[in-house]
Each structure stands twice: as structure tokens, then as C-alpha cells.
């Protein structure tokens, strides 16, 4: 819950881009015969509403009601005094402030005559909200629209690519601070990483560490003081204006600089394609892919879609232990032949 900068630049995210996304979403809604679509937002699941309106909540929860035409309505469980801040940081016209989301959703949908209503990730929405909605509006027909939203969301537009690229730049600059220097790397370097990313204007940075890759090749959440051993890895998950990327690198404090550079060059060139994941002297482990396809900023995917922003998580092994790397890439037109962001 460490939020950094939350602000809206109309230069970086023009209103026309958000309106274009909304129009495309409405096309998908029309194909499914929906009267309206509900899109949920809260602290851990801000991505879908952020993609449509630039709104990122720092507290509580909300639901975007997307009617077939006219302006969407943002219903939030935040008091009225927060509405000015919402208008400053997001592209929304009507805001409903309510402690009872279900009841307000029912009133809005009923007054619009919307019966066949889609909901993104229906089963995962708060029961208190949806049961409240159904109790107030028994005639409503709720439809799980998770797949509809995923189809709509797959291909990145130029704005998403630019913001993801900026997030990747912030992450790269910060992660460079984790490289071994003259002295052994200690935990205070993580403080410098945090400062670097936030001074560059990131919205959020999550730091995971694998302090001793010889003993344990898994990242864990950084939740207190730590000591790095000879071979270690740091993973940063960085958000910039609602767009998240993951970047991870492993380091070995015993290696000469040219060995580290050689390996880094291989990792960078391998980032774009599963077919070139080999690393000299290492055996290849599993590859994980993540992308933003719903309300979560990043979630697992099986296969990239054409033109999708994807974070690729890789593992290799040698006799010294695991070697971990993550890179954000832009998938090619065929979902393959990605290029690093």
C-alpha cells in the first residue's frame, strides 16, 4: 500500500485515448448484447478502471458503470470530499459517493432500464456488493464478462506502450543500483532503489529479493532487514500511470565484470523469444508470462496475444544455483518475436 505519485497528465494520457478505449469496449459489449458493463476497482485490482478512466484508488472500492452510450458513472465508497481529487486525477464526469455500492448500482442500472448487465470477474467481486445489487434489483441478469474484457484488453495501444516503456526505464535505472560494486551489497541498497524509482515519479514499486540463489532460487517479498550472499537476485515490479512491468536481474559478486556483461547481453537478447532462452553454461528452467488482462495489474497468461505488453519471467540453473531474470516485452503481430520495452 505504498502509493507514490498519482497524477494525470493529459499529454501522456490524452482524454481521446481513454474515449477511444471506451468506444472499443462498447463494441465488444454490443456484440454480446449487454445493456451495461460493471468494472470493479480497489487497491489491489485497479487496472481495468484505470485503463478506462485513469482513476487509481488509494482507499476503499468502486465500480465503473459503462452504459451503451453516454458517460460512464463511477460509483465509489469514498466520501464527497475526495471527488475533487478524483476529477483531478481521472477522466470521469459523474461520480456517485456511497457507503452502499450495491444499492447505488441497483438504482443506477434500474433507472437506465439496464437488465442484461455484464460484470468483469463476477465471481471475484465482493459478495456484499453483488448480493446487495441483486437484492435491490431482482430482475437484473448478471453475466460474467471476464472473457469479453480480456479480448478487448489484449492488444496494447501506443499510450500503453509508452507508459509501460517509461515504467521499464524507471525500473532499469533503479535496478542498476543493485549491481555489485566495490563493497558487498547490503540491504541499504534497497532503500536507494525505492528512492530512485519514486523520485522518478513511479506510482508504485514492489521489491522482491532472493538473497542467496545458491540456497534458494525463489523470490520472496522484502519484509525486513536482509543480507545478500555471493549470488543474489532483485525483482522490481514498477507502476507508472497505471501500467506495470516486472524487471529482475541476478548478480554474482565473485564474477569479473566481463562475465557479468556477457551474461546480461544474452539475457537481453533472449527476452523477446522463448526460442532463444539459452544461457551459456546454464540449463533452462520454466518460463512464466504475465500481462494485464483484467482488474489485476499483472496476472499469469498462457500465450501472448499479438501486440500485447508482457512480462517474461525466466529461470536458469548452473552448479552455483539458480539464475533469475524478468523483462517486459512487446509481443509481435503473431504473439511471438517480441521486442524488449
Amino acid at each position: 500500500m505504498r502509493r507514490g505519485l498519482l497524477s494525470w497528465s493529459e499529454t501522456e494520457v490524452p482524454p481521446a485515448v481513454l474515449e477511444d478505449r471506451l468506444a472499443r469496449l462498447r463494441g465488444h459489449m454490443a456484440n454480446e448484447g449487454l445493456d451495461a458493463l460493471l468494472v470493479y476497482t480497489n487497491f489491489p485490482r485497479p487496472a481495468a478502471v484505470s485503463y478506462l478512466t485513469h482513476f487509481v484508488p488509494y482507499w476503499s472500492q468502486g465500480m465503473l458503470i459503462v452504459p451503451p452510450d453516454g458517460a460512464p458513472v463511477l460509483a465509489v465508497s469514498l466520501s464527497k470530499r475526495v471527488s475533487n481529487w478524483i476529477r483531478e486525477t481521472a477522466h470521469v464526469s459523474e461520480i456517485i459517493n456511497t457507503p452502499n455500492l450495491g444499492k447505488e448500482l441497483a438504482a443506477n442500472l434500474k433507472s437506465g432500464g439496464h437488465i442484461r448487465v455484464g460484470a468483469v470477474e463476477l465471481n471475484r467481486l465482493p459478495g456484499a456488493v453483488i448480493n446487495g445489487l441483486e437484492a435491490e434489483y431482482p430482475d437484473i441478469e448478471l453475466i460474467d464478462s471476464t472473457a469479453l474484457y480480456q479480448d478487448f484488453r489484449a492488444t496494447a495501444d501506443e499510450t500503453e506502450i509508452a507508459l509501460s516503456r517509461r515504467a521499464a526505464e524507471i525500473a532499469r535505472t533503479a535496478l542498476a543500483l543493485a549491481r555489485p560494486g566495490g563493497a558487498p551489497v547490503q540491504a541499504d541498497i534497497l532503500s536507494a532503489i525505492e528512492r530512485s524509482a519514486r523520485m522518478a515519479g513511479c506510482e508504485e514499486i514492489l521489491i522482491d529479493v532472493a538473497e542467496d540463489l545458491a540456497a534458494d532460487g525463489r523470490f520472496r517479498r522484502l519484509d525486513g532487514p536482509t543480507t545478500f550472499r555471493d549470488r543474489y537476485a532483485v525483482r522490481l515490479s514498477v507502476a507508472y500511470k497505471g501500467h506495470w512491468v516486472r524487471l529482475a536481474r541476478s548478480f554474482d559478486q565473485r564474477w569479473p565484470e566481463d562475465r557479468a556483461k556477457e551474461l546480461e547481453a544474452h539475457i537481453a537478447s533472449a527476452a523477446g523469444s522463448a526460442d532463444t532462452s539459452g544461457l551459456p553454461g546454464f540449463s533452462t528452467g520454466p518460463i512464466g508470462l504475465e500481462a494485464c488482462i483484467g482488474t489485476l495489474p499483472l496476472q499469469s497468461i498462457i500465450k501472448p496475444a499479438a501486440g500485447q505488453v508482457v512480462s517474461v519471467n525466466r529461470t536458469w540453473h548452473d552448479e552455483g544455483g539458480a539464475w533469475l531474470a524478468s523483462d517486459p516485452v512487446l509481443a509481435g503481430p503473431d504473439g511471438k518475436n517480441a521486442r524488449p520495452l
Partner: protein, 367 residues
């Protein structure tokens, strides 16, 4: 297992036995994970998560995706960890394996639609009250963590005070604080702030506004130690405070003191809130105690930074001995702008104990 979680488990299993409960299923997410952490010692960093704990100690964690599963496996080596694309279906499958055991779920406000008791295809009772009782009253190890978190909040505020200078942007100020808390070992912090003058109506996440001479800079810092959040609220003037700012702030000092003057084991949240609000009424500022201008007059602290009870005049929850809460009469002042003041305190039999050492006054960068 660490001491703090061993204490939690002893209390949880005793409460389950008392109420004839075999299984607790708790839900949490990256915003609120107090119920989840209480039963599992796990705080989720991304997405939502479910912990299912049996009275014999068997723990099953269901999280969203392999990234979070890796974190969960590293943190909870004794648990079985399941990475699920569909958390709800995974939980339903797991519950089906538990036969006819007595199951409770919590918290009712967070449970997803697909797992709400009325939407399950098996019986499950609401266990929110059972866990609330455990969450509100702190064990000795929990109190020690809260004390350390309060000391960390004090130290963080000093960093804030040193960094707040004309020309510094709000987000740069946050970067300094978060950098400090990371260095100090706090895995989480909730922080909002406001800057400006009479026009400022509240606090919010950092923006790009740069501080100016004469600004009131309000903040609440909420660092966390071993999962336990404390909080400090203070108002800082950039430069010398004006007479108007000083006079306005006296209301907040009086209101916080009034709240603390009634705080002790056995009082209700309502009584504390009324004591604070009466001060505003005496100053002719009753309007500014309403939801139009403020949210709560304080709240519980613990594994979540905004836990029960909310200090409001219509909340009759009794504050028990060893509860932990913050008293903060934060609100808008029509002459000076939004101001905040608050300290966290342990509720004792005869009163309260605060671990904060930051002066409870209008602070200034001028000294």
C-alpha cells in the same frame, strides 16, 4: 514459528474449540489482509488470497498466480500453497474436500460473490465476529510490535519534517519517507498528505505540487512492523506558523486531549468520538465533525491500518483492555484549512499508554 504467530495460533485454536469450529477460511488482499495474516502469518503483496486453516494446524493457501505463490511458499514453508487463475473455484474445490467439518468464513465485507455463504453449495457460517474479537485485543508480542511500529512512525515523521522544504514536490517527499521506511525494515506503509492553505480540504496520495513558504503540510504515516501498523498524524507549517494557524490548531490539540481523557478499557468508540467532537462544538465548529468534512475521529490499529472500531459517535463497540487505536480529530478548519493531529495508544485498564514521542503540537520547519 515466530513468537507472535505462536501466540496468535494459540488464541485462534482456543476460540475455534470454544465455538465448535473445525475450519476457518479467511480472505485477504494487498490492501486489507488482517484476517488472512492472523490465521496464516502471510501478507499478500499482489491480488487476493485465501487461507484455510484446520483446527489441527493444517494450513492451505490459495493465491493468484505463480509470482505470488513463490512469495507464499518462501514465507510459509509449512503450508500447502496453490497458485490459481480462478481463486474462487480453487477455494470451492478445496472446501469440497473437507467433508462435513464445521466451517466459518471471514470477513463478510471482503468475501467474493462466489464464496459468500449464500452462494456456496455447502454450509459455512460467518466467522467475522470470532476473528474480530481476536484482532481487536492484542497479545504481549503484538503490543511489542505495535510499540516498535509507533517508534518507527516517530522516526519517519522526523525524516518527513527534515525533507519538507519549499520547492520539494509532494511525490519527492514521499520518496524520502518510503526510502527511509524501507531502510528501517518496514515492509508496508500507508501515507497520504495534503499541502497548501485554507483551500485544502483533505489528504490524498502524493501529487506534483511543490511546497511553498507558509503551507500547511498534513500527513499520516502508517509504517508496519511484523505485520502490525501504527500511525502518526501531524501538521507541519513551512516556515513560521501564522497566528491564524496557531489559533486554529488549538482546537485539534484540545480535541485530541479530550478524546484521550475518556479513553480506557470499557468505554465505547462513541464516547471517545463524542469527547473529541464536543470540543469542536464548544468552538462553534460542529459542522466540521460531519462526513462532509471528515471520515472518522480515530480507528483501531493492528494487522490492518484502519481496523475496528472506527471512532465515531454512532459506533458502540467497546474498547477492551489491550486494544490499540489512534485518536485523531482530523478535519477541515474553515479559517486555516485541513489540519491533522493524532497519536496511537494502547488501551489500559485505567486509561491508555502512547508510545509516541513526537510533540503533539503544530510543528514548523522554522524550528
Amino acid at each position: 514459528m515466530n513468537v507472535i504467530h505462536r501466540e496468535r495460533q494459540e488464541r485462534l485454536f482456543a476460540a475455534m474449540a470454544d465455538e465448535g469450529v473445525d475450519v476457518v477460511m479467511s480472505w485477504g488482499n494487498a490492501w486489507q489482509c488482517d484476517y488472512l495474516r492472523y490465521v496464516s502469518d502471510y501478507s499478500v503483496l499482489e491480488g487476493d488470497a485465501i487461507a484455510v486453516i484446520l483446527i489441527d494446524g493444517d494450513l492451505h493457501l490459495i493465491v493468484e498466480g505463480e509470482t505470488e505463490a513463490g512469495r507464499a511458499r518462501a514465507k510459509c514453508p509449512g503450508a500447502t500453497v496453490e497458485a490459481a487463475d480462478d481463486l474462487v473455484e480453487a477455494a470451492r474445490r478445496y472446501l469440497a474436500k473437507l467433508g462435513n467439518r464445521q466451517i466459518v468464513t471471514a470477513p463478510r465485507t471482503l468475501l467474493p460473490y462466489g464464496l459468500a455463504p449464500e452462494n456456496l453449495d455447502r454450509a459455512a457460517a460467518d466467522g467475522t465476529d470470532l476473528l474480530d474479537r481476536l484482532l481487536m485485543t492484542k497479545s504481549p508480542a503484538e503490543i511489542d510490535a505495535m510499540r516498535r511500529a509507533t517508534e518507527m512512525a516517530d522516526a519517519g515523521y522526523q525524516v518527513f519534517r527534515d525533507a519538507a522544504k519549499p520547492g520539494v514536490a509532494e511525490f519527492e517527499l514521499v520518496a524520502e519517507i518510503e526510502g527511509y521506511f524501507r531502510e528501517a525494515g518496514s515492509p508496508e506503509n500507508f501515507m497520504i498528505l495534503g499541502s497548501g492553505g485554507q483551500e485544502v480540504r483533505g489528504m490524498h496520495p502524493a501529487g506534483e505540487r511543490r511546497l511553498r513558504e507558509g503551507d500547511l503540510v498534513t500527513t499520516e504515516l502508517s509504517p508496519c512492523v511484523d505485520g502490525y501498523f501504527s500511525q502518526i498524524c501531524r501538521t507541519l507549517v513551512i516556515g513560521e506558523p501564522s497566528r491564524v494557524q496557531q489559533d486554529a490548531f488549538q482546537v485539534y490539540i484540545d480535541a485530541m486531549n479530550a478524546g484521550f481523557s475518556v479513553l480506557k478499557a470499557g468505554v465505547t468508540a462513541s464516547e471517545v468520538a463524542k469527547a473529541e467532537n464536543d470540543v469542536f462544538r464548544d468552538y462553534g465548529l460542529e459542522e466540521y465533525t460531519t462526513s462532509e468534512y471528515t471520515r472518522v475521529r480515530g480507528h483501531g490499529l493492528g494487522l490492518f491500518l484502519d481496523t475496528k472500531p472506527h471512532i465515531l459517535e454512532d459506533v458502540d463497540i467497546v474498547l477492551e483492555e489491550d486494544a490499540f487505536c489512534i485518536v485523531h480529530p482530523n478535519t477541515y478548519h474553515p479559517v486555516a484549512g485541513y489540519m491533522v493531529l493524532g497519536d496511537a495508544a494502547l488501551v489500559t485498564k485505567d486509561g491508555y499508554r502512547t508510545f509516541s514521542s513526537t510533540p503533539a503540537e503544530l510543528l514548523s520547519t522554522a524550528g
